[in-house]
Point group: C2
Chain length 415, copies 2
Amino acid sequence: MEQRSKGITELVLTYARSEPPRDVRGIMRLSVLDWAACGIAGAQGGGFAAWASTLDAAGPATRFDGRMGSVSEAALVNGTLSHALDFDDTHFAHIGHPSVAVVPAALAMAEMASASMATMVDAALVGAETSVAVGMWLGRGHYQVGYHQTATAGAFGATVAAGRILDLSDTQMRHALSLCSTMASGLKSQFGTMGKPLNAGLAARCGVEAARWAASGMTSVWDGLSGPLGFGETHLGAGELPVFAWRMGDVSHKFHACCHGLHASLEAVRGSDLSTARRIEVFTHPRWLTVCNQPAPDTGLGAKFSYKQVMAMAALGIDTGDIAQFTDDCAMRPDVITLRDRVHVSQDDTLSEMQARVVIDGEAHFHDLRTPLAYEARQERIREKACALVGARADDLWAAIEAEDLSRFAGLLKS
Amino acid sequence: MEQRSKGITELVLTYARSEPPRDVRGIMRLSVLDWAACGIAGAQGGGFAAWASTLDAAGPATRFDGRMGSVSEAALVNGTLSHALDFDDTHFAHIGHPSVAVVPAALAMAEMASASMATMVDAALVGAETSVAVGMWLGRGHYQVGYHQTATAGAFGATVAAGRILDLSDTQMRHALSLCSTMASGLKSQFGTMGKPLNAGLAARCGVEAARWAASGMTSVWDGLSGPLGFGETHLGAGELPVFAWRMGDVSHKFHACCHGLHASLEAVRGSDLSTARRIEVFTHPRWLTVCNQPAPDTGLGAKFSYKQVMAMAALGIDTGDIAQFTDDCAMRPDVITLRDRVHVSQDDTLSEMQARVVIDGEAHFHDLRTPLAYEARQERIREKACALVGARADDLWAAIEAEDLSRFAGLLKS
């Protein structure tokens, strides 16, 4: 007879030992490709090179900056660099970016343990499901008050990912989760600074360490996540328990190298010819008007937060999926500036944050980012995106994932 | 004209560049000795050896477990092992243990930078003052809700300690503090587990990393501690700003290897002959009756939480300052058990948590732990304590501190 009531920790333990469904595993493999491309490209700039060079412990794990390192430091560096461009996948229920926390943890641990690609992908997947479930359990209030769910919920996901590869017992996994509860951190006030990508790296490292330390015999409380004075209680979690379900099928991949608030409108006009349009009316959720409605950006960064700019780029056939296009020059091109005047942005309270309606010379186009993308279409677009980020290496990465060749995959990550 | 209002971050920056007064520096040197003895003894047991062996990055920093390691891992290991016995110093205004967070950070960084003992002690001291000030600023509510101030406030202290040795500019120190704000963690629910000492180690590592990363050029927000959605706001800090003052002169050192709630009563009877007493009445603050009033402990651990036990030990001349005396055998000695019956414990609402009154056959003895101890008396007792913990090595450690010989001191720490 089961005496103990089931809570979030028991749900997490269930994920940790579940066999993932084939279709969700397929999506996770795409997320692994997407993550790798973001990390390779993220290592090229952003000012993290000097920081990464302070992390110089030798070890078996591959790093995006070209070094081999300890599993802890590889998880930290790879989590950070893969989030540096803010171009990685998003799960809206999680309120966070699942892959940047769990994949670096699973990969480093798999390299240490000489585990297979299939083991790595499944570990990353149950980790991602954990982070989504913990993110839902912490709730919107946790995010609103200032915690960065990618990092906080993500650390628990990374712990499960790493712990599964180490084949932790349920008791060891409990200790790992409770050690995670006293280590997990990450504030939203870091947004717009190097601290935001760092938060993802810290979550990945936290998971690797909590799992390894529990495996070494370190113990903690029975339920540091949802027990008395646990992580949920201290970090203002709502504590509403989600049901067991596989949710990574709903993950969103970013196909435009700009603010997420612009994506629904760009998807709405995808395939339409805007080159001769005289009037382009964008209707969007009111929240986005304070986030990404710069009327006349004059830098590449500003361009990423401007409906007028990205619509003008789309009209000129400039690929908004290519991060290299978001330059100061592009923001100041005379033909772009001229076209921006044809774009008119309004709020529409009936739209969700994920929806947009774009009216081109009177003809309405609508998109909801929550609309599921068929696997084949998703694969094609992610491979295109990866190709735009890392060139021909994208095909080699995908071939290594399909061949389930972990060492070939890892070898391709070094910049 | 100063436009920006002064807050906790500006106070911390003031500590970071201040010259400590000579008398407070003297107390800090005693804390360094006390810390070293606790760490050497703490490395002998507690089940941390397997854990420490997973931390195997090579580097210039000395560790209590005998290895040389990276500065990050040395700070982590040394912070944890020095708190393993829970015998290290306490600051009641901080609501925490200052030395276990700041000294490991300062020492590892000093070894890396080949800094002098004087530089290390001053860095540890301004770090300790920072952790006390930040602890006061976070306030009692932060502790009550479940945060472990030793770890949370301690991380900011460790950041200042490490950053001072790296000679960070004010701007770099701000970035280090803001990086710390997104990394600092530590829950009180870990008490009674290996997670409690680990929290101290995490704080020490956090400081070392935040300082090194800021020195490498990593940047963050302007004020991650007290700015919008900063550490104070998200972690339920009260935000009452303390004045600039040197407070480490008030630090308490533990002279009995048992629960702090027993110390005032043991100090009250210090120097009295209890061997022939027929009735020993202990009066204490009501809170302690639920913490350390086990009537008949039968283990060494239980003995550490029992007025009857420690009074019986004192009556028999068994040194309560010697951690080795708190054994299962001692708890079950027939002469101890007989004497326990003569001890009667009552609450007295007029006493503070730091006070106790012990009436021996009608003769009252009072002690308040806040009573300042003269430097010479304090030095003598800390040296006695260190000697009980690590034998003759205590004298060598003190000689190295007095000679300001950092490398000799570090060499003596290895178990």
